[in-house]
């Protein structure tokens, strides 16, 4: 069982690497959906021995919300602003891949320093959550299109969710609230930002925001 949990966590990190390295917005969103669905399986594997109703609820909420509703919303946003691919990256593809590889190494170093109060079922959970968070940051920093930044934010959220799963037994409601609240804030804020940028400038390049003058 632990091997399956390891496999899923490694798969999640690899999918994060694919999101970071892909330029097409549609591909990014699709891979994000798959990644979130796989992440939703983690609580089932982690708490397989003492399964409770709210754990199933949290997993299902995560799977449905991140795996289906968010990608649907993002695809709607792509159609709305008719953007297909990231034209101008701040950090190039090769550099992004190498940086995310470094982030994986860094997360393992960081995780080896941390002492976690509750017993963890796999020593890969914390490193992979850290690397997802850093990959999300890389997307936020390295991309200029608002949609890729939304995906970056959501990947970051996935990392936080993975970390929060560890606390699921201690404070289940807080984790659940965190998932829902973060996601909807992300969706609403970014939805407004995306549509406003595209209304004003006819594209979604956030670089243009920094040239605004009053």
């Amino acid at each position: 069982m632990n091997v399956w949990l390891d496999a899923i966590l490694i798969l999640v990190v690899i999918l994060g690497l694919f999101i970071v390295s892909s330029i097409r917005l549609g591909t990014m969103i699709k891979i994000f959906g798959v990644q979130s669905m796989i992440l939703g399986l983690v609580p089932f594997l982690m708490y397989a021995k003492d399964m409770e109703f709210y754990i199933i609820l949290v997993s299902l909420a995560a799977i449905v919300l991140r795996g289906f509703i968010m990608p649907y919303f993002l695809f709607w946003a792509i159609r709305h602003v008719s953007e297909r691919s990231e034209a101008s990256q701040v950090i190039g593809t090769g550099a992004t891949i190498l940086l995310s590889g470094l982030s994986v190494v860094g997360s393992f170093l960081l995780a080896s320093k941390l002492v976690f109060p509750v017993p963890i079922s796999s020593d890969l959970v914390i490193p992979s959550s850290f690397s997802l968070i850093i990959m999300g940051f890389l997307l936020l920093v390295g991309r200029t299109k608002a949609i890729s930044q939304v995906v970056g934010y959501l990947v970051l959220e996935n990392g936080i969710f993975l970390f929060a799963i560890l606390l699921l037994k201690k404070m289940p409601l807080l984790v659940e609230m965190g998932i829902l609240l973060d996601l909807f804030i992300a969706a609403v804020v970014m939805g407004i930002v995306v549509s406003h940028i595209s209304d004003e400038f006819n594209n979604m390049d956030t670089i243009q925001l920094s040239t605004l003058k009053d």
Binding site: I10, I97, L98, V104, V105, F108, L124
Partner: protein, 306 residues
């Protein structure tokens, strides 16, 4: 002991061009053609062996020696590699380093020969080969390091026949990463399709083919044969990683090993038929991902074992 040695050498020397035949058959099947016979690579080799070589006026002895030297280096690497449950003829502590550098040496002499022709076109191919080579070499090394850490052995004969059979249940996911990474390296090193098309002669796209454009006759036969053996050795690495179960009967193991290799050749053929060649500036990204796969695997193994 002598039977093992003979069988190892025979499989290593005779079987490799067969793989190319299977790849060709698979690609022909996907294209809806009958395709060349399975033994076509042998016919090609025979044809090339009978032909005389033509040498450029600027080329000196390096150009003439390179095909033989590189093929010899690749065959020497093959002698270090265990096949099925056959112990390799040569084995010693730390031979994985020699193994990797024999391939590097084979590439080096071919690159030298390409530069020796004096044609800028071949120099371009040499530059590409050297660029991708230094990315794939580090990945190959990292993968071998992971395997060496897992099997607690710095010798190929300690890693491959049985050293990893217990690792699949413990660190299976990491081994999957290594297998994927090695498969990508196999495609890169042998200039198969997502990286380089072995069949085209378009100047914009070629990597390996452009370097050997000036070679002809017996020299070309050596290079062709060396490439087949290289594919065989890399393939046998992937195959022995996946199928760790052995019956410990010499003949049955070898038979199954050859079947597995044919399966791998069919898989390569499927990849070649279903994928388009990557644009040249996208190839480093593929190599980077292969490198990342092995780095992630390496870090996990380090965190687990130390």
């Amino acid at each position: 002991m002598n039977v093992i040695l003979l069988l190892h050498i025979t499989v290593l020397f005779v079987f490799p061009p067969f793989l190319l035949g299977f790849i060709g058959k698979t690609k022909a099947f996907f294209a809806g053609r009958i395709g060349p016979p399975l033994l076509q690579p042998y016919f090609d080799l025979y044809k090339l062996m009978r032909k005389a070589s033509v040498y450029s006026l600027t080329a000196n002895w390096i150009f003439k020696a390179a095909p033989m030297v590189s093929t010899a280096a690749i065959l020497a690497a093959g002698i270090l590699m265990p096949i099925a449950s056959l112990k390799p003829p040569v084995q010693f502590w730390g031979d994985i380093i020699l193994f990797v550098y024999l391939f590097a040496f084979a590439r080096f002499v071919i690159v030298l020969a390409a530069l020796d022709t004096g044609s800028s076109f071949e120099g371009m191919g040499a530059s590409r080969e050297a660029t991708f080579g230094c990315l794939s070499e580090i990945t190959l090394f990292l993968n071998l390091t992971i395997l060496a850490l897992l099997s607690r052995s710095l010798s190929l004969s300690g890693i491959f026949p049985g050293g990893l059979s217990s690792s699949w249940s413990l660190v299976g996911p990491v081994l999957i990463l290594v297998v994927v990474s090695l498969f990508l390296i196999l495609l890169v090193e042998n200039s198969r399709i997502p990286i380089d098309d072995p069949d085209t002669h378009l100047e914009l796209t070629m990597i390996h083919e452009v370097m050997v454009l000036d070679h002809s006759g017996v020299d070309l036969a050596y290079i062709f044969y060396g490439k087949a053996v290289k594919l065989f050795i890399f393939g046998s690495m992937v195959v022995s990683l996946i199928f760790t179960f052995k019956t410990h009967n010499l003949w049955i193991d070898t038979f199954f090993f050859i079947l597995e290799m044919i399966g791998l050749a069919v898989l390569i053929g499927i990849v070649e038929s279903t994928m388009a060649r990557l644009r040249l500036n996208k190839v480093p990204y593929l190599l980077f991902s292969a490198l990342m796969f092995s780095i992630i695997g390496f870090i996990i193994i380090l965190a687990r074992t130390i």
